[in-house]
Amino acid sequence: MTRLHKGGKGLFRYLRISKSFTYGVVTIIILLILGYIVSLFAPFDPTRWGKVPRDKPPCLKYPLGTTTVGQDVFWLATYAIRNSFTLGVLTGFFSIVIASLMGFISGYLNEKLAGKLTNLVIDSFSVIPGLPYIMVLAFSFKEYLNMTLIALFLSTIGWAWPSKQLRSIILEIREKTHVYTARASGFSLFNIFWSEFLPYVLSWLATTILNLMKWAIGMETALGVFGLSSMEKATIGTTLYWAMNYQALLRGKWWWIGTPIVTVILIITSLYYISIGLGEMLNPRSRLAQLRRERIQWLKSEM
C-alpha cells in the first residue's frame, strides 16, 4: 500500500509542476463527468429526432444549440463523450491484453520457436493499414455495429505496434543481471515478470493504454465521417456525419459541426498530455533519481 501512497504523492507533485499535465487531467475529469454523470440527466434520448425545435443557435435553453433534425446538441455531446470513452477504454483493454502476451512471449522466448512465431505474427499484423481495414470490417458488419464491436475490431490490429515496443523492452531487461539474480533466488516466471520487469513496463503500459484510447477515438471519428460508424448511436463520428450530411457548415449552423470537432480535440489533447505526464513520472530513470534524492534527504535529516 505504501507504493500506491508514494505514487499518489508523486502524482500531486507532478500536477503542480507541469501545466500541460494539469490541463490534461482537469479536462479529462470534466469530460468524464459530462459523459458519465451529466448524461444520466438527459430528459430524453438525444438521438431521437424532432424532440426539440430545429436549427436553434446556442442560447440559454439549448446551450449548444439544436440540430436540423431536432436534437439537442448538448445532450448529444454528453452521450457522444460517453460512447467515445467506452470505446477507448475497451479498445485499450483488449489491445493491451493481447499486446502484453505477444510482446512478452516474443521477447522473453526470443530464441525459442514460440518467440520466433509470435514475432512473425506481430510483424505481419503491424503492417496492416489501419483505416482501410477498419472500414472494410465496419461496412461488412454494418447492422451489428456498436461500441463494443468496434472496440473488438480495432483491437485486432491495435495491439501490434505496442507489442513490438514491449518486445524490445523485454529483450533489454531480460539480459540485465538482476533478472539472473532473481532466477538464482528461485523466482518463477511470473514472479520475475512482476518483480523485475514491471517497474520498467509500467511506463509503457500507461502511455500505450492512453495512446490506444486516442487512436480508437480518432478511428471512430474517421469511420463516422464516412458513415461507417454505429450510425444510430450518438458518437462524435456520427454527429459529424449527420452535420456534414445536412451541410451544417454551409448553412451556418456552426454549433452542430463545431461541437464534435471541439470535443474530439479536447479529448485527444488531454489524453496526450496525460500520457506524456504519466510516461515521465513512471519513467524508470526519473523514478530512480527521485528515489535517490529522497534517500539522501532522509539521510541528511538523520545527521
Binding site: I296, Q297, L299, K300
Partner: protein
C-alpha cells in the same frame, strides 16, 4: 605545466546538500611527465579532471580555486575564461580522453569523417592536403593501419577504438592530455599496448599526460609521478618509485600492501570499512574512521599536505610529527 591551486568543486544535489567531490586540492603536474591519479571510485578523480579541463556544468560548481596552465611564458587560469576562449584552448592546449570514450564514437560516421569534423572547427568544407597528412600521420602514430580511416566504429575492436580516441586527442598537438581510465574494459594485452603507446607519445612529443586509474599496476608501469586521492582530498603525492617503495600515508600503505602480485604467495590484509559518503564526510582527517593509527587530533583537525621528503608530500598528522 598545470597547477591546481586549492580547488573546491562540489555537486549540488539538493537544497543545501553538496557532494564534496574535490575539497581543497592543490597539486602541480610536471611538464613532459606522466602523472597518475589513483584512488577508489568516488574519491573525486574524475571531478578533478572535469575541473582541469573546464568542463563545469551544473550540478557541478567550482566554489573556489584556480587551475593555471603555464605555457609559452603565459599563465592562463581556465576557470576564469568564458566559453569562447575556452573553446580555443580545447584540443590545442589540452585534450581529454574521457572514460569509455570509445563507446561514444558515432557509429554511422566513418573514422575519416570524425577526424575531419574535429579538425574543422572553423567550418571549412574541404580539408587541405596538410590536414589530410596530419590525420594519416596521427593514425600511424597510434599503430593503426590507414584502412581504418574508411571504416565505421562498430567494425573496430575496443582497443582500436580507444586508439582512435587517442589519435583524435593528439591531432592538434596539445601540450597536455588527460586520460580517464583509458584501459578499463580492454583486455590485458590491449591494455599493455595502449599504456606503452602513451609512454611512447610522451617520449616522442614531450606531451604532459595525466592518467586517472584505480589500477595501481597501471600506475606502476607507466607513470612518473603519482597522486593518491581519498574522499575528495589529496593525501599523498610523490614519484611513482617513492610511492611504491616507501608509502607514507596509512591509506597508501594498505593500498600497496593489498595488491596481489604473481609470484608473491603472502596472504594479504584487507582494509576494513568503506570510503565515507562525500555529502557527509567525517570531521578532521577523512581517513580517521578506518585508520589504525588514528589519534585525537586526527578526529578534530584536517591534516595539511606537507612536504616530508624532497618531492614527497603527505597529508597525515602522524607523519608530520615524526
Amino acid at each position: 605545466m598545470v597547477e591546481i591551486r586549492n580547488v573546491k568543486a562540489y555537486y549540488k544535489i539538493g537544497a543545501d546538500i553538496f557532494v564534496r567531490a574535490v575539497d581543497g586540492v592543490s597539486i602541480s603536474f610536471d611538464e613532459g611527465k606522466i602523472t597518475g591519479i589513483a584512488g577508489e571510485s568516488g574519491c573525486g578523480k574524475s571531478t578533478l579532471l572535469k575541473v582541469c579541463t573546464g568542463w563545469i556544468k551544473p550540478p557541478l560548481t567550482v566554489l573556489e580555486g584556480k587551475v593555471v596552465y603555464n605555457f609559452n611564458d603565459e599563465e592562463v587560469d581556465i576557470l576564469n575564461l568564458d566559453e569562447e576562449k575556452l573553446q580555443r584552448y580545447r584540443w590545442r592546449l589540452f585534450a581529454i580522453v574521457p572514460q569509455a570514450a570509445m563507446n561514444s564514437l558515432n557509429p554511422v560516421r566513418r573514422i575519416k569523417k570524425i577526424f575531419e569534423e574535429t579538425l574543422n572547427q572553423s567550418g571549412k568544407k574541404k580539408l587541405s592536403e596538410k590536414e589530410k597528412k596530419m590525420i594519416e600521420k596521427v593514425i600511424t602514430d597510434v599503430g593503426l593501419p590507414k584502412e581504418v580511416l574508411n571504416m565505421y566504429p562498430p567494425q573496430l575492436s575496443g582497443g582500436m577504438k580507444q586508439r582512435v580516441i587517442i589519435a583524435l586527442a593528439i591531432i592538434a598537438r596539445p601540450k597536455v592530455i588527460f586520460c580517464d581510465e583509458p584501459t578499463t574494459g580492454l583486455d590485458l594485452v590491449t591494455q599493455k599496448g595502449i599504456l606503452l603507446l602513451l609512454r611512447e607519445l610522451k617520449d616522442r612529443y614531450g606531451i604532459t599526460i595525466i592518467l586517472i586509474s584505480h589500477d595501481m599496476g597501471v600506475h606502476a608501469q607507466v607513470t612518473d609521478n603519482l597522486a593518491i586521492m581519498y574522499a575528495g582530498k589529496l593525501i599523498e603525492y610523490a614519484s611513482t618509485h617513492d610511492i611504491f617503495k616507501d608509502p607514507l600515508h596509512p591509506y597508501t600503505k594498505s593500498l600497496i600492501n593489498s595488491l596481489p602480485m604473481i609470484g608473491d604467495k603472502m596472504q594479504k590484509e584487507r582494509l576494513p570499512g568503506a570510503p565515507p559518503p562525500l555529502f557527509r564526510p567525517p570531521k578532521g582527517c577523512r581517513f580517521h574512521p578506518r585508520c589504525k593509527y588514528a589519534t585525537e587530533i586526527c578526529e578534530k583537525k584536517e591534516p595539511p599536505l606537507k612536504e616530508i621528503k624532497p618531492g614527497h608530500y603527505v597529508a597525515c598528522h602522524r607523519i608530520g610529527e615524526e
